[in-house]
């Protein structure tokens, strides 16, 4: 269910496709003389045809491909003796690692990078109240079309982050204690389960490194800076469970991890305090995993989630005395 299948691909993504094809041609993975058809290349890369067509056109303009007199393109110079037949591109061992990195690439589709930014902004804003998110404001802020801003809003709606008011405006927030309770209730069921699923597939080296980092922080007197806390939380709640094969569960869990946003905002407003408790709780999880006790690790994770939930609830209350920096033109405070 690659997000790449959408037709709403913006400028920039075809450049990534062009780079991938150019690299595979340069290294000989796509040999000279190979006949390339747009549909076949799109099928091989798992992409929609339009960025592929643009990429192929670009490569042709650069002289890396030649336009075949009948149909498609040919790698290199179109010699008359070039293979006339249709190549099965699936037999070629291509390097598609650039495409695999998906979201993290700066050349991801336009709506996708915008979605990531808007999602972050929404999460950082909802602890501070209720806001309207404006479609026109999104267009103006990002310099994109209505189609793209609608795509972004549709995705946010799908994630349950926004909803339509009676007057048909898109509304975000507020993040209430009840929302945190509900998310926690689901997360404490799913996340330990995902950890059990991930446990047999975890590399001992990764776990040892995590244990060492926790020891180091512990030796520092249970004080860490915001980046260090972020890093250990990401390592446990994102990276470790990512080894679980059930992607649907992982996606759901990501959507439930709003507590981390509250923590990060609290650190930004108040600063980092004693994090000895968090470190201890993490250590219990990692030590169980090192001892190949997945069930024990799951229990330790559940305990960590329960204790952290109480801390996060208390921190959300502190955030109630602050206001969100209201500097995003597409978020309009309602109350």
């Amino acid at each position: 269910m690659s997000t790449r299948e959408t037709p709403a691909l913006g400028k920039g993504y075809y450049e990534l496709v062009r780079t991938v094809l150019a690299e595979n041609i340069r290294t000989g993975r796509i040999p000279p003389g190979t006949r390339l058809y747009t549909a076949a290349v799109a099928d091989r890369l798992g992409l929609s045809p339009s960025p592929v067509r643009r990429a192929l056109d670009g490569l042709a303009a650069e002289g890396i491909l030649a336009v075949h007199p009948q149909q498609g393109y040919v790698v290199g110079i179109a010699l008359p003796e070039a293979s006339p037949g249709r190549e099965n591109l699936h037999r070629l061992d291509l390097d598609l690692s650039l495409l695999e990195t998906g979201r993290s690439t700066p050349l991801a589709p336009r709506w996708e990078t915008i979605l990531e930014e808007v999602e972050g902004a929404v999460l950082r804003t909802i602890p501070f109240g209720t806001f309207q998110i404006s479609e026109a404001g999104l267009c103006e802020h990002f310099g994109v079309s209505r189609t793209i801003s609608r795509e972004v809003l549709a995705r946010l709606n799908g994630q349950g982050l926004i909803e339509k008011s009676r007057s048909s405006h898109w509304i975000v927030g507020p993040l209430s204690a009840r929302t945190l309770d509900e998310m926690h209730e689901m997360r404490r069921l799913l996340e330990p389960q995902a950890l059990c699923g991930a446990a047999p597939r975890l590399e001992p080296g990764v776990l040892t490194a995590m244990a060492q980092e926790l020891e180091r922080l512990c030796a520092g007197g249970g004080r860490g800076d915001s980046t260090e806390i972020d890093a250990i939380e990401t390592a446990l709640h994102r990276d470790l469970i990512a080894a679980c094969r059930n992607r649907r569960m992982i996606t759901t869990i990501h959507g439930l991890q709003v507590a981390h946003v509250v923590d990060a905002l609290f650190r930004a407003h108040i600063g980092v305090h004693d994090v000895g408790a968090i470190i201890d709780e993490h250590r219990m999880v990692v030590l169980h995993l090192l001892g190949r006790d997945a069930e024990g690790a799951a229990q330790a994770l559940r305990r960590h989630l329960d204790l952290d939930h109480q801390r996060v609830r208390a921190r959300l209350k502190v955030l109630s005395i602050f206001d969100a920096p209201n500097d995003l033109p597409y978020l309009i405070r309602i109350h």
């Binding site: 602890p127 209720t130 209430s176 407003h269 108040i270 209350k317």
Partner: protein, 385 residues
């Protein structure tokens, strides 16, 4: 070498530190005290974001927040002269009047959180307590009837439209508005001290609708503004007792209600900054112990507050003051307010009776509710409507 006098920076609302109290503190303690008098949330914001900017905080109903923020440090019981009385709060039989918001959050537990189990460190030194309701002018009876029992429902009563005042603080204001909603609409909230989202919406929608109809004359944010609002024509309004005492000093007839639904209880406590240490910390403990000694509690009793440990204040009150403020007996003579000016006329009887009788009427304690984040946004919507 004589060193300069120690300095102490204290953050407090004006009700807790009237000028005579500030002057007596400087005299009695031989330390220089900077009082930052802040009536709004700015005081709390400063405390949680900049613990190095203050040494002592007169908190009320914020201990959850300032402890979560680690803006305050534990108080060592050994260093307090009233340690025994504080420890006694944790032991049965529980003081019937000890607020749960004190006993549940007083002691520092082994895990670093606050709880009721006694330990040798506390989060706060409780110094004052009281119960608030609304006040009204006698002319209100012409509209409501001479015998109608005092009720929070009056605040939302259509017959008083345009003559009603409220306080602006969201924590206190929402509690009072919830009491008024229950009484005027015949509904019952699950826990009026911890309203759910829908209940907050119910109260906020009621408030906004009333405001749009011109029901409210104004809102106030401290006792001086409260007194002025009533002088400007509010017939009924939220009231802090110092405001009522001020009006009595100025010879205005005002009744402090003892509503059938009960009142809104509160306590105020002293907390130490997380950043205080060395000589400053010593000065802070001296300030705390001065409060524990009884003089400040006696001073503020004269505006209608109760010393958290009444017997300690008693030594600084005249028998007629004690009888009027704590025993609920008629004033034997004219009694002064904290400024030394005559406020209570001879023969006046305090509404609600004695300390024990009045504090037993607490229906709900001031507190930041679980959904305070939501509450405060809806409250702002009301203020801006």
């Amino acid at each position: 070498m004589p060193s300069s006098r120690p300095r102490l920076r204290v953050v407090a609302r004006r009700e807790f530190v009237p000028t005579p109290l500030r002057e007596e503190a400087a005299r009695a303690l031989a330390i220089d005290i900077d009082f930052a008098v802040v009536d709004s949330l700015d005081g709390l914001r400063r405390v949680v974001t900049a613990p190095e900017s203050f040494d002592v905080y007169h908190q009320w109903h914020t201990v959850d927040l300032i402890w979560t923020s680690r803006a305050i440090r534990p108080i060592t019981l050994d260093r307090l002269t009233c340690a025994a009385e504080l420890s006694a709060l944790a032991h049965p039989p529980l003081d019937a009047q000890a607020p749960p918001t004190v006993t549940g959050k007083l002691f520092v537990q082994p895990d670093g959180e606050l709880g009721p189990r006694p330990s040798d460190r506390v989060s706060m030194l409780p110094v004052l307590r009281g119960i608030d309701a609304f006040a009204y002018q006698p002319a209100l009876r012409d509209l409501i009837g001479p015998d109608a029992p005092e009720s929070w429902g009056w605040l939302f009563d259509d017959r008083l439209s345009g003559r009603v005042g409220l306080l602006s603080d969201p924590v206190l204001g929402m509690i009072e508005a919830a009491l008024a909603t229950e009484a005027s609409q015949g509904v019952a909230f699950g826990d009026i001290g911890n309203l759910a989202i829908e209940e907050i919406d119910h109260v906020a929608d009621t408030l906004i609708q009333l405001k749009k109809r011109g029901h409210f004359r104004g809102v106030w944010s401290n006792y001086e503004e409260a007194a002025r609002l009533m002088q400007r024509g509010a017939l009924i309004q939220s009231m802090f007792t110092p405001g009522a005492t001020r009006l009595r000093r100025e010879k205005m007839e005002v009744a402090v209600a003892n509503p059938v639904e009960g009142g809104r209880g509160w306590h105020s406590d002293l907390c130490l900054s997380a950043a205080a240490d060395g000589e400053t910390l010593d000065a802070a403990y001296a300030y705390l112990n001065w409060w524990a000694g009884g003089w400040p509690g006696a001073c503020l009793s004269r505006q209608g507050y109760y010393a958290f440990l009444p017997e300690r204040a008693r030594a600084f009150l005249s028998p007629s003051e004690w009888d009027y403020w704590y025993e609920g007996l008629p004033a034997a003579t004219a009694l002064p307010d904290p400024f030394g000016l005559p406020a209570i006329p001879a023969g006046h009887l305090r509404e609600g009776g004695s300390y024990a009788a009045r504090m037993a009427r607490v229906r709900v304690w001031n507190t930041f509710m679980d959904e305070h984040g939501y509450l405060v946004r809806r409250w702002r919507e009301f203020l801006e409507a």
